[in-house]
């Protein structure tokens, strides 16, 4: 049992490494930004380990740099993280069986990448569960904290790695994860609604994080309508 858990955790640690490499680049860039605003390297490390929310941290620090309004900056950053209500809610089965303390630790180390990878792997193999999520989550929070701190310490510019497709690696990874989560034709309608609504909202100029929440909620509404239609008698 313990060996199975360790083996699954190790599986999670190895599987997340390519995604962690991509996150490290963004972490470095954020550390650089935070250092320019006036955060010491240990302040950046503190924030990354206790907040562990990339987009929220970036927005909060940008807002703080512009206005120095602490509450406004923190709330603007936190609002970008609203999708985590859905992300953590969807982990209900994965986390069942863990103590409350363990659940609270696990939800803190859960990020977009290790959550999506866990759900995708779980769709292929139901044995994949909390241990995989924890292993991959520990790697992600460690890499995020280390890379943001390194960015704040070094303070030098990286070459534009985005140009070589590093940023696109996340998109490709999420496409693969969507493939793993595909349940069949009944997904097509809600997924199309989610996709179109998200694209439309981004094109309207809203922040991506809000578009993700709105797209997911509209997809859920479409799914509900389709399920209701199927139940109606002919």
């Amino acid at each position: 049992m313990v060996l199975d858990t360790l083996s699954s955790m190790k599986h999670g640690i190895i599987a997340i490494l390519p995604l962690a490499a991509g996150a490290a680049v963004y972490g470095f860039a954020f550390g650089l930004l935070a250092a320019q605003v006036g955060f010491p390297w240990w302040g950046v490390a503190l924030m990354s380990s206790f907040v562990h929310a990339g987009s929220s941290q970036i927005v909060a620090v940008e807002q703080f740099a512009g206005s120095s309004a602490v509450i406004g900056a923190a709330l603007a950053g936190a609002a970008l993280n609203l999708r985590y209500i859905g992300i953590v809610a969807s982990l209900s089965d994965v986390l069942s069986g863990l103590s409350l303390r363990a659940k609270l630790i696990v939800i803190h180390i859960t990020g977009d990448e290790n959550w999506a990878l866990t759900m995708s792997e779980r769709a292929k193999n139901p044995e994949v569960g909390a241990a995989f999520l924890i292993g991959s989550g520990l790697v992600m929070i460690s890499v995020w904290t280390a890379s943001t701190t390194f960015g704040a310490v070094v303070g030098a510019a990286l070459p534009n790695l985005e140009k070589f497709g590093l940023g696109f690696a996340f998109t490709a990874a999420f496409i693969a994860m969507a493939r793993g989560l595909w349940r069949g034709p009944s997904n097509s309608g809600p997924w199309l609604v989610s996709f179109v609504v998200t694209v439309a909202i981004v094109l309207l100029g809203m922040p991506k994080a809000y578009a993700i929440v709105a797209g997911s909620v509209c997809g859920l509404a479409a799914s509900y309508l389709m399920k209701t239609q199927r139940k109606l008698p002919a």
């Binding site: 390519p18 006036g38 955060f39 302040g43 503190l46 924030m47 907040v51 929310a53 929220s56 909060a60 620090v61 703080f64 120095s68 602490v70 509450i71 923190a74 950053g77 993280n81 999708r83 985590y84 209500i85 859905g86 992300i87 809610a89 969807s90 982990l91 209900s92 089965d93 986390l95 659940k103 609270l104 939800i107 999506a116 990878l117 759900m119 070589f164 497709g165 696109f168 996340f170 998109t171 490709a172 990874a173 999420f174 496409i175 693969a176 493939r179 809600p190 989610s194 996709f195 179109v196 998200t198 094109l203 991506k208 578009a211 993700i212 929440v213 997911s216 859920l220 799914s223 399920k227």
Partner: protein
């Protein structure tokens, strides 16, 4: 580090964690309700939205690279292979000026 810096870290940490705890509570209550189907549907919908948000407003080359990644994902159902093919396609398209 002055007081406002400490405050920003503290407030952001509390807010970010509160959102996660809200998700935990929502998950427990949804799981035991007649809407438990939402927990099955949510992961796919969020991942699709993540893909859509990263493609919206991007040039044709990015959409073509996403098409290549989609094809490889469909055939292999493997994250690493899809990432490698997607990044290679993206870099190649940038190289050719897309």
């Amino acid at each position: 580090m002055t007081f406002p810096f400490w405050m920003l870290i503290a407030v952001l940490a509390v807010a970010a964690f509160s959102i996660r705890v809200l998700g935990l509570l929502a998950g427990e209550s949804i799981k035991s309700s007649r809407h438990s189907w939402m927990l099955d549907d949510l992961p796919g919908l969020i991942v699709v939205s993540l893909v859509a948000s990263s493609l919206a407003g991007q040039p044709v080359g990015t959409w073509l690279a996403a098409g290549v990644a989609f094809f490889i994902a469909y055939v292999t159902n493997h994250v690493i292979w899809t990432m490698c093919a997607g990044v290679a396609a993206y870099a190649g398209l940038v190289w050719f000026g897309f």
